[in-house]
């Protein structure tokens, strides 16, 4: 059988129309390539050494090992391509081999990536903790200062941001400072807690890296007992002691890196990356909330207030609905019902402990911002705001 083809020898860019013929040679066969016009023999290829190359439709393009890199035969048209494929069984074999190799490569690379993801999901919470421990506390304090400025800037025009009682020696401020010092006593935290009550329309309380914590007047208006106040404050100080702000910064950065790896967009600007990152980060965030709840409940046990009061307040300002259940995975906080169950399991106050605040102190705290003049603009739960971003 003779087939016409285009032939290059891989040495010179002089393409030729040729005739290919199969001839027995040794134990196998050889493709004898002769010039279409002159019928001079140009080359002989071992039929077992040919391999297929990618080509446009209705073209069979083959190369051969043992010859120059660019040596090619090209069979153009449906029939010539089909006939050549049939005549050269080595092509089908090599094609299968190459396909198998590509499958294995894709599989291997995917498996490698999957294990990186798995290692990340398991490892980063652990790693973020120990990296956080290695971070100098001054650094975290500096970070906290920056965030304080940002929070102030964000809140001032709309909801207001004003320290309620500027006298550090007032009854209320002294009581709060004493309470905070007691809560963190014995935890070995390098930070000096600094709690400020701020006049603003947003019902919230949160802690920032480096020890700064805020309790907003709109939340204070809804706080009905000293135990509620103590529970929330202890929860926020839990974030400070466990350095959750720093930890989250580290895990967010690591997540960005991972998502970039998957999407191949190392500049990390894509929205998909953001969504994926949020999904993973919020998991850490919920873990952090649980840890802060445990801290609060330990403090409650030690200092003789009711840890469940935290939940009473939380339920008053923040109710779970269908929507929040549907988006629970994207929420930075565990569901209220879940936290309540956990706290009730943990809580058992020491009956011999003295309460954290005297009735006079609690009255002073409650009236720090004057009468409850502002109605809250939105029922945002405590600590709903980001702590550090």
């Amino acid at each position: 059988m003779e087939l016409t083809a285009r032939y290059t020898d891989g040495l010179v860019a002089d393409v030729r129309d040729v005739i290919c013929r199969l001839e027995p040679e040794g134990t196998g066969q050889a493709i004898v390539i002769t010039d279409l016009q002159s019928r001079d023999e140009l080359d002989r290829w071992n039929a077992a050494d040919v391999f297929p190359l990618h080509a446009r439709r209705h073209e069979l393009r083959i190369g051969v090992s043992g010859k120059p890199y660019g040596a090619r035969l090209s069979f153009n048209g449906f029939e010539p391509a089909r006939d050549a494929t049939a005549a050269l069984p080595a092509l089908a074999v090599k094609h299968r081999q190459d396909r198998g190799k590509q499958y294995r490569l894709v599989g291997l690379a995917t498996a490698a990536l999957a294990s990186v993801v798995a290692a990340y999901v398991v490892g980063v919470p652990l790693l973020a903790g120990s990296i956080t421990d290695a971070m100098p506390p001054q650094w975290e304090e500096g970070l906290g200062q920056t965030v304080v400025a940002q929070v102030e800037q964000a809140l001032k025009p709309e909801a207001g941001f004003e320290v309620c009682d500027t006298d550090p020696n007032s009854l209320a401020n002294r009581a709060i400072a004493r309470f905070a010092a007691e809560v963190v006593a014995g935890t070995g935290t390098p930070f000096k807690p600094d709690i400020q009550v701020i006049r603003t329309k947003i019902p919230n309380a949160f802690a920032l890296p480096g020890g700064h914590s805020f309790y907003f007047s709109a939340l204070l208006d809804k706080t009905e007992s000293a135990d509620e106040f103590a529970g929330v404050m202890a929860h926020e100080l839990g974030h400070v002691v466990h350095r959750h702000g720093m930890e989250q910064l580290i895990s967010t950065s690591a997540t960005g890196l991972l998502i970039g790896f998957i999407l191949g967009d190392m500049t990390g600007m894509s929205v998909a990356g953001g969504l994926g990152a949020a999904l993973i980060d919020t998991r850490f965030s919920r873990d952090a909330e649980r840890e802060a709840d445990r801290f609060s409940s330990d403090a409650a046990k030690r200092m003789g207030f009711d840890a469940r009061a935290l939940m009473t307040l939380l339920e008053r300002v923040d109710k779970d609905d269908g929507m929040s259940r549907a988006f629970a995975l994207l929420s930075t906080h565990p569901l209220t019902a879940e936290r309540k169950a956990e706290l009730e399991r943990l809580a058992a106050p020491d009956p011999n402990a003295t309460p954290p605040f005297t009735p006079e102190e609690w009255q002073a705290i409650k009236s720090m911002c004057g009468a409850p003049a502002n109605t809250p603009i939105a029922p945002v739960g405590p600590d709903k705001m980001n702590r550090n971003r």
Binding site: V106, L249, D320, M323
Partner: protein
């Protein structure tokens, strides 16, 4: 652009690929990216290039792309080594405030801008050295760092001169790239100067500058005058007009650029001549817009079906649904998130796909079909050179997401 060589046969360039074929390659690629966590993108790129290359038929013989996905994958891993320090720097800066952060981000931005030039040059090197025509490989010499520096310094000059120096930059970079390109043992040559592209560029520049100045003058006079309330609508119309003119000017510019710059490329005695018309380019863009509208309608329809399903269930709820009934609508949290991410990724892939099939392929087809090569027979004497040093993937280019084809 007159071709001075009258001797020698003029060869044609054709493009034999169909949009549907590229559509198939890309769709399959995006689908396979899901189970492979995105790793398949290196294979998709390889298949896409094979499509472009093997359908570009120069003087009867197609180009051949000899690169493979593994090379791209390895290149990407190399690029990661560069990005880790950048990430750590970003992390550090995110904890800093004020000037330090500002300066830090600025410095990183400048570094990335500089490296982009390096990446672009390396990516071109990778593609050329994996391109075969008539069994002979293309290649690129020169130094990627030198190219990056040139590009960087030119871009500084661009800022200083408000873009007026662009034709000179364009010519210099084209010359560097082209003169360092080889086909086998024969060197490419670029014979243009800054004047090659100066006419179209300055015409476009002047029109846009006059329009912009007009808008500024309008704002200045109106702002001083009494009737400030009409300023808003007038300004909106002026800006929309500006964007429309800028869009049309861009098509004019791209077509002139392709025509004039490519037509200064020589390989030995063979010279390329390319004719791309602005209206043909605009035609491709119009097709793109139509496809975009079509895809948007399709996606909204699919999303609508999902939404309608939910709304029907919502309407079927009792007047005062319990939390459980309400929550059941959204299924579990995981389904909600999966739908959200799935929908987003489908949208992203669909728009990228339309862009590639209509804009990317459209431009390539116009340039290929508008090209001829004079004295093509002089290329028959080109000889192969020794194996090139092995280039590792496209590295930075892949990671930075540059290099269109």
């Amino acid at each position: 652009m007159t071709v001075t060589e009258s001797d020698g046969r003029i060869a044609r360039v054709e493009f034999s690929g169909a949009r549907s074929e590229l559509f198939g390659i890309l769709t399959r690629g995006y689908l396979l990216m899901v189970p492979t966590l995105g790793i398949y993108r290196f294979w998709q790129t390889t298949w896409k290039r094979r499509f472009y290359w093997q359908n570009t038929v120069i003087d009867g013989d197609p180009l051949e792309y000899t690169g493979n996905a593994l090379q791209l994958l390895v290149g990407f891993l190399f690029a990661l080594a560069f990005f880790l320090p950048v990430y750590i720097a970003f992390f550090y800066l995110s904890t800093q405030a004020g000037e330090i952060a500002l300066i830090g981000y600025g410095v990183i931005g400048v570094i990335i801008w500089f490296l982009l030039g390096y990446a672009l040059y390396r990516a071109r090197d990778f593609r050329l050295s994996r391109t075969l025509w008539r069994g002979i490989r293309f290649n690129q010499h020169g130094n990627a760092w030198v190219y990056a520096l040139r590009r960087f310094l030119w871009s500084l000059a661009m800022v200083v001169t408000l873009g007026l120096i662009f034709p000179a930059m364009c010519a210099d970079l084209w010359r560097y790239r082209t003169n360092n390109s080889w086909y086998g043992d024969r060197q490419f040559r670029w014979t243009g100067t800054w004047k090659t592209i100066a006419g179209p560029y300055y015409r476009m520049y002047a029109v846009l500058a006059v329009l912009a100045a007009g808008i500024v003058a309008l704002v200045a006079t109106r702002a001083g005058g009494a009737d400030t309330d009409t300023l808003g609508p007038v300004l909106t119309i002026a800006i929309i007009g500006f964007i429309l003119v800028a869009g049309l000017a861009w098509f004019y510019w791209r077509s002139r650029e392709a025509t004039r710059m490519f037509s200064e490329v020589w390989v030995g005695n063979a010279r390329a001549t390319v004719k791309v018309r602005a209206r043909a380019l605009f035609g491709q863009f119009a097709l793109y817009l139509l496809a975009l509208i079509g895809v948007s309608i399709l996606l909204s329809a699919v999303a609508g079906v999902f939404m309608t399903g939910t709304l029907t269930q919502l309407a079927a709820l009792p007047a005062e649904p319990t939390d459980e009934q309400f929550a059941a609508l959204f299924g579990s949290s995981w389904t909600t998130i999966a739908l959200l991410i799935g929908g987003y990724l489908i949208g992203l892939a669909a728009f990228a796909l339309v862009g590639e099939v209509f804009l990317g392929l459209g431009y390539w087809m116009l340039v290929a079909r508008g090209a001829t090569i004079s004295d093509a027979d002089s290329l028959r004497g080109v000889r192969a050179t020794a194996e090139d040093r092995s280039l590792v993937g496209e590295g930075l280019a892949d990671a930075l997401n540059v290099g269109a084809y």
